[in-house]
């Protein structure tokens, strides 16, 4: 031993099990940040090479950063960095805290034999940094490798606009941010425990009065619940610092989950993915119904074409809606069966709508209107001598730019109903889906009569971006969930270790294994429940605010609803996390020999 600091690696070796979780936490934080920044870097490089190809000149990193895409990417990465930093500090300080609390006597003894406060604080800090030595390289390697995997998925599975993303790029930005993240979290997390350790009085060692979980201020209420449950809850509630840290980390991940899922909604509104999105569209220059069904039929035979369907429309048809204050005309639009099915797939139909009668010529239609001109399911519309019954309503107006109808009423009918009412057979729009090659497009073009136009939308599909975004959000959510579970497992395990002597005594005076498990479960569940309540409340509020800013302000028809299924996921997750957290320590304590602890002072 050259200096007192040589004690650190020795003590780390002895306390390997307790430190394992802390190590995992650091690895996770470093891994996440490295992966995120590496991905952002790869995206930038892809953008760089794309621009270079397009403009045949080299773009610098700075130039990319000046683009809005570059800024958005790094803004997102920055926000994620901050969130991970907070989560990391919460978790790591939780575990350092417990290890310090468990060793009060040891620190007291160190003070007794001559260690100064500064030396003690330094040794706690250095001990924390000692973990970085192994955790940071592992995290960086994991992060880089997973960014390769993600790039490969984007390039070979999602394809679309990601075919040029670099495959095995090593990102210096990613590595640097990982290293910074690891070091900074550990230093921040170790600050308070280091001070706490320095405050330990030398008397603590001699008197055995350690002030660790042994000190209670208030007696447990034992009347209402079984004793082991009361004790478990009391263990959770009495240690304020632990309670704040554990509840905080639970709440934080729930908040992140509820917030991020609003981002998913947002992308859904921003890049709506419809089953009826066309790759090619044929329309008449004059705008009226002039595309013959024969053309549609002919296109069906073209290479690569998967679906062909069309719409017909007649505007401002005189109609009686049977209610005062409603317009006297409607826009009548025909949908082919495939198009009608797409409405259901895309979840555009309001609750209660029934599509089955709309198919064929049964006199049933779907209506599109504003909430202030309300038509309901079952209302009838008199039109051209026939009666149509409303079988359902759409959530928003497909035919207007902002999703609002602005006082107009549109009626969607099947082709059969439309032809019966109007006698019009020609389409106003014919839509084509499929993997259509340029040659096939030329062949389709050759089929078109004079006055018809072909719009090529193959490049405008946003599916790739959509999938990539959704994938990123989901993987981030999964990682957050894993980190939370790890954290609570760690904390429960620490808390159990800290009380093992007490648990031994309880076993000796007659607590059985099942009661032991319930006691530990009650403690974990208290944290989880508190975190769940706070997390759901705050998450819903933040989610609603975000919904207003991101969605409601831009999509007037959007309506916020309580995300019941997401809340259920949260509850389920919390219960599973608690069970996972309790399992291992409970087993350990059940299997521990009672005699190991009872006569320790």
């Amino acid at each position: 031993m050259k200096s007192y600091l040589s004690l650190i690696p020795i003590s780390a070796k002895v306390r390997r099990r307790q430190n394992r979780m802390t190590l995992l936490c650091i690895i996770f934080a470093v891994f996440l940040v490295t992966a995120i920044f590496s991905m952002a870097d790869m995206m930038i490089r892809m953008e760089q090479s794309r621009l270079a190809e397009k403009h045949s000149q080299k773009f610098t990193f700075q130039a990319i950063l000046d683009t809005s895409m570059g800024q958005t990417l790094f803004l997102i990465a920055g926000v994620l960095f901050l969130l991970i930093l907070i989560a990391g500090v919460l978790m790591i300080s939780g575990s350092i805290n417990s290890t310090v609390a468990q060793r009060t006597r040891f620190f007291g003894m160190m003070r007794c034999i001559g260690m100064s406060r500064q030396q003690l604080a330094r040794s706690v800090r250095l001990e924390a940094l000692n973990w970085c030595k192994t955790a940071i390289p592992i995290g960086v390697i994991l992060g880089t490798v997973s960014s390769w995997v993600l790039c490969a998925i984007l390039r070979f599975v999602v394809r679309e606009e990601f075919t040029t993303i670099p495959l095995c790029g090593v990102s210096l930005v990613g590595i640097a941010s990982g290293v910074v993240m690891g070091t900074v979290t550990v230093l921040i997390a170790a600050r308070a425990p280091a001070e706490q350790a320095a405050k330990v009085s030398p008397v603590a060692a001699v008197s055995g009065n350690t002030g660790s979980p042994g000190q209670a201020r208030r007696a447990v209420r034992t009347s209402a619940l079984p004793i082991e449950i009361s004790l478990g809850v009391h263990h959770a509630v009495s240690a304020k610092k632990e309670l704040v840290l554990m509840t905080g980390s639970f709440a934080l991940s729930i908040i992140l989950f509820l917030t991020f899922s609003v981002l998913l909604d947002w992308v859904g509104y921003l890049l709506p993915q419809s089953a009826s999105d066309a790759d090619l569209t044929i329309y008449g220059e004059s705008g009226v119904n002039c595309v013959s069904p024969k053309i549609a039929e002919a296109i069906r035979g073209t290479d690569g074409v998967e679906n062909v369907f069309g719409r017909r429309s007649v505007f401002e048809v005189p109609a009686e809606l049977g209610q005062e204050g409603l317009p006297q005309t409607v826009d009548l639009i025909s949908f082919d069966d495939l198009d009608l099915e797409a409405l259901k797939k895309d979840d555009i139909l309001k609750k209660g709508s029934d599509l089955t009668n709309v198919y064929g010529d049964n006199g049933y239609v779907l209506a599109v209107c504003d909430p202030d001109a309300p038509l309901h399911k079952g209302d009838t519309i008199q039109i051209g001598g026939g009666t149509l019954t409303v079988a359902g309503l759409l959530k928003y107006d497909l035919f207007s730019g902002d999703g609002l109808s602005h006082g107009r009423v549109s009626v969607i009918a099947s082709s059969e109903t439309f032809i019966r009412l109007t006698g019009i057979v020609d389409y106003s729009l014919v839509m084509i889906q499929g993997k259509v090659t340029d040659e096939a497009v030329a062949a389709i073009n050759a089929l078109l009569d004079e006055g018809l136009r072909l719009r090529d939308q193959r490049e405008q599909r946003t599916f790739g971006t959509y999938v990539a975004f959704v994938m990123c959000v989901y993987s981030f959510l999964v990682i957050i969930a894993m980190v939370t579970v790890l954290n609570i497992m760690n904390s429960i395990s620490m808390s159990v270790s800290a009380r093992s002597k007490q648990y031994g005594a309880m076993r000796a005076v007659g607590m059985d294994g099942r009661q032991m498990t319930w006691m530990i479960f009650a403690e974990a569940f208290t944290y989880a429940l508190a975190g769940c309540v706070i997390g759901c409340a705050a998450g819903l509020i933040i989610g609603k605010i975000l919904f207003n800013i991101l969605i409601q302000d831009h999509f007037a028809y959007a309506v916020w609803t309580l995300p019941v299924s997401r809340l259920l996921i949260v509850v389920l997750f919390v219960i599973l996390a608690t069970i996972a957290a309790v399992h291992v320590p409970a087993k350990r304590i059940r299997n521990m020999a009672v005699t190991d602890t009872i006569n320790e002072l």
Binding site: Q215, K501, M511
Partner: protein, 227 residues
């Protein structure tokens, strides 16, 4: 009738050359109501023996019968229930539960057994132990002697037939020691309990009905001191 019968208990830690024989073929019986002291040097195997009797630890070979029930033939769960109903433990380190009050600590084994304490018996115990003024205090607000008295109360609350005490006065000064000891004897006599107590103190051992000495894992009956 013998309340406790220990038959050919051996306990060996480790194996082959590193084997340590903590107990070597220990056999003895204790009749109901007897106050037994076990003496011996540190590391002689006293605590190991006591843990075997209390079924906290399992022997390498041999049997322990309490009320003619073979404790090591029971399953873990059955044993736990048997222990909390029939054996009271008093430890040198008190081992009270810090977040429970004096009264709660005392009735803890009953609560684990989903029983309500008999209020008169509890009040009696509190009075005998001199804790009636302290019933709502937490262990941290008590002196060492008071804490050990709570532990005695906890050991006696289920009216166990056997009380095992591992150096109950080891952490106490001489005044508190003799007080606690007197209480232990008084309550044991009052409630007809068998007490087996480990002690280092020859003076304390002297007051027991019978004294056993453990030396290098071998038990010797030194006979009655007062008989």
């Amino acid at each position: 009738m013998n309340l406790l019968r220990v038959a050919h208990i051996c306990k060996t830690y480790g194996d082959s050359e590193a084997a340590v024989h903590a107990l070597k073929d220990v056999s003895f019986s204790v009749p109901k109501g007897e106050f037994v002291a076990i003496v011996g040097e540190s590391g002689s195997g006293k605590s190991t023996l006591l843990n075997m009797i209390g079924a906290l630890d399992t022997p390498t070979s041999g049997r322990v019968y309490i009320n003619e029930k073979d404790t090591f033939a029971m399953k873990e769960k059955e044993l736990t229930v048997f222990r909390r109903r029939n054996i009271g433990f008093i430890f040198q380190a008190f081992n009270l539960i810090p977040e429970l009050s004096v009264e709660q600590n005392m009735i803890f084994p009953l609560l684990l057994d989903r029983q309500r304490p008999n209020k008169r018996y509890l009040d009696d115990l509190l009075t005998v132990l001199g804790l009636e003024e302290r019933r709502d205090h937490l262990p941290s607000q008590l002196s060492g002697g008071q804490q050990q008295r709570v532990a005695i109360g906890r050991a006696l609350i289920t009216r166990p037939s056997l009380v095992l005490a591992d150096e109950p006065t080891g952490n106490l000064d001489s005044k508190n020691s003799s007080e606690v000891l007197a209480l232990l004897k008084k309550t044991a006599r009052q409630y007809e309990q068998t007490v087996i107590m480990i002690t280092h103190n020859p003076a304390i051992a002297h007051t027991a009905d019978r004294v056993f000495q453990v030396s290098d894992g071998v038990l010797t009956d030194l006979g009655g001191c007062r008989a």
